[in-house]
């Protein structure tokens, strides 16, 4: 491993000694790390196993391997909670809410990455407020505002709120990405007499697509997980996203044997797992943190 920054390039003797010590400590650390991995994915895998057990096997204990695995629990929960509607709504909110946030954030991110906008500090302060604000503190005014606009308990109202509340994070993330695009490229365009819009549209936007994809996905997942706004602003079950609809699983009707709630929560996670698998390398590479640190 020549690119290991922690490895000394000393004399051969020290080298051997170092390698032996490194192997032992590496083995111990690896066991610990695998234990950590088990604690972090184990619960979900256990849920997958539990969801495949028929009712009768419930009393055999949580770790018993299913004797007659079947998808009955999935069938019951799928119909009982109306998962097609819930999943459809969640996809709609996440896809459009994140798209709105990105759309609103593109030009501000471009402006902040390229120009010395007067009051820059003030804008960053405002963005931080939007980023950090605990949602519960603005529930009441948002609730009354949406009610006056007749947007309470509507899909459009919720998408609008998600879009605007996703915007600060998107601005910071996209600005971070756009700052990393070499300034020489647009400098040349400006000298040729291109307008701000032309530079944005022809140069910055096409070059930002990888960054846009990452931050769009992160926003998608954030909205998929979102709970407070959906819980308060929606009343009609046909508008519920998965997070709110799933609350029903926590009732005697579904909790009697653990297979039904397990199946429900596995279903709720499947779309995200698919997304996670597709984009795993982008997340793992620390793009998220890189985007925020800017």
């Amino acid at each position: 491993m020549p690119d290991n920054p922690f490895r000394p390039s000393a004399n051969p003797e020290a080298e051997t000694k170092y390698l032996i010590a490194a192997f032992i400590s590496k083995a111990i650390a690896t066991i610990l790390a695998l234990l950590i991995a088990i604690i972090w994915v184990g619960p979900f895998l256990l849920m997958v196993v539990t969801s495949l057990k028929p009712n009768a096997e419930f009393l055999r204990g949580p770790f018993a391997w299913p004797l007659a695995p079947n998808f009955d629990a999935y069938r019951k929960v799928w119909a009982g909670l109306d998962f097609p509607t819930l999943l459809g709504n969640s996809v709609l909110y996440s896809a459009t809410g994140a798209a709105l946030a990105v759309l609103l954030a593109l030009v501000p991110a471009y402006g902040l990455s390229r120009f010395d906008i007067p009051g820059k500090k003030f804008i960053f302060g405002i963005l931080l407020i939007g980023l950090m604000l605990p949602q519960q503190t603005v529930l009441i005014p948002l609730y009354t505002t949406l009610r006056t606009l007749h947007l309470l308990d509507t899909k459009i109202g919720l998408i609008l709120v998600h879009g605007v509340y996703g915007m600060p994070m998107q601005i910071l993330a996209l600005r971070g990405f756009m700052t990393s695009i070499p300034k020489e490229i647009d400098k040349a365009a400006f000298i040729e007499g291109a307008s701000d819009f032309q530079v944005f549209w022809k140069i910055i936007l096409p070059l930002s697509i990888p960054g846009i994809l990452v931050s769009y996905t992160l926003n998608f997942i954030a909205i998929w997980k979102e709970f407070v706004f959906s819980l308060v602003f929606l009343n009609n079950e046909s508008n519920f996203p998965v997070t709110v609809g799933m609350l029903k699983l926590n009732s005697d009707r579904y909790m009697s044997a653990f297979n039904l709630p397990s199946a429900g929560l596995v279903i709720s996670q499947i779309p995200i797992i698919i997304l996670f698998l597709i984009l795993y390398r982008k997340f793992a590479g620390g793009k998220l943190a890189g985007a925020v640190k800017g």
Partner: protein, 307 residues
């Protein structure tokens, strides 16, 4: 022709005239939306905290500081603040330090299977807290749950608890579940941060014979101060937002032992129809978050967001 980024445009009017596109769509539009959906609600919350209002009636009754007087004498409020502090301390200790150690372990190549460990720890970050809550409702079930039966199985039966029913433990159970779900974020932040430390710095420390503990303490942590600031800030605010797990798992029970500020606001406003008092609680939360943000920002984040 001068370069746009170099041109001296301290004058706002000059800037607005020279860059109409950026000004309209990059500054004015987002600021208007921010004002309507974030700024106005904050101001309105403060305004509402001086009123008594059930949320429906046409008339809101001005009652001055009565809500605040009630708040100051409310046991429930102090219990909730205390619970948020416990939540915050657990979150600052376990997910942040563990996230750092995992990230360091991977960057220093002291573990194999780094990809596997990394995606395992990151996985719960993609999970909604409602789903995670339901999952642990099953796993921590006192009679049939996996954890208690595991403890009994390995002869640690004396550790078996009613994880959500025990007055003294319930809040820590929730905080640890939250920490479990949260660890992936500090890990990713530190993973990126350690990757940014110049290789020469770490090489030099290693050649001089510094152990991992020494490297962490004298090289990595000082270099990672901005990352730590972001992570700490994020953790504090996530702790103040604590809500989802409480709704799914305990609804504040037993006897308010898991009541946190976020849940108290929701409960008072939308269940007890005391919107004025709910707003007053919100102002308290805003106040606490401002203090926390100011403390952290002043100390470490100086200038991390300009440049």
């Amino acid at each position: 022709m001068e370069n746009a980024t170099v041109r001296n445009e301290k004058n706002a009017i000059h800037f607005a005239l020279n860059h109409r596109f950026v000004t309209i769509f990059g500054v004015v539009l987002p600021l208007l939306l921010f004002a309507a959906f974030i700024g106005y609600p904050i101001v309105y919350t403060i305004y509402l905290s001086f009123f008594k209002w059930n949320g429906m009636a046409k008339i809101m009754r001005f009652i001055g500081l009565d809500n605040y007087a009630y708040l100051i004498h409310s046991q429930e409020f102090y219990l909730a603040v205390l619970n948020n502090i416990k939540w915050m301390l657990v979150s600052l200790c376990f997910p942040v330090s563990l996230g750092f150690l995992i990230a360091y372990g991977m960057r220093a190549r002291i573990v194999y299977f780094t990809g596997l460990v990394r995606s395992a720890v990151f996985f719960p970050v993609t999970m909604s807290l409602v789903a995670a809550g339901l999952m642990f409702l099953l796993i921590l079930n006192p009679a049939f749950g996996a954890l208690n039966s595991l403890l009994r199985g390995v002869g640690l039966g004396f550790l078996v608890r009613e994880w959500f029913g025990d007055y003294h433990i319930a809040i820590y159970t929730l905080a640890v579940i939250f920490g479990w779900a949260f660890t992936g974020l500090p890990m990713i932040f530190y993973y990126a941060g350690i990757g940014d430390i110049p290789k020469e710095t770490l090489d030099a420390a290693r050649i001089e014979g510094a152990g991992h503990f020494k490297i962490i303490r004298s090289v990595a942590l000082p270099q990672l101060r901005p990352v730590t600031a972001v992570v700490v800030l994020l953790t504090i605010f996530e702790s103040l937002k604590a809500f989802d797990l409480v709704v799914v798992l305990t609804k504040g029970a037993p006897f308010g032992a898991t009541n946190v500020l976020g849940y108290l606001i929701y409960n008072e406003s939308f269940w007890n129809s005391r919107f004025g008092y709910g707003a007053c609680l919100s102002v308290a939360v805003l106040f606490l978050s401002t203090i926390a943000a100011a403390a952290v920002l002043r100390k470490v984040l100086k200038g991390a967001f300009d440049a």
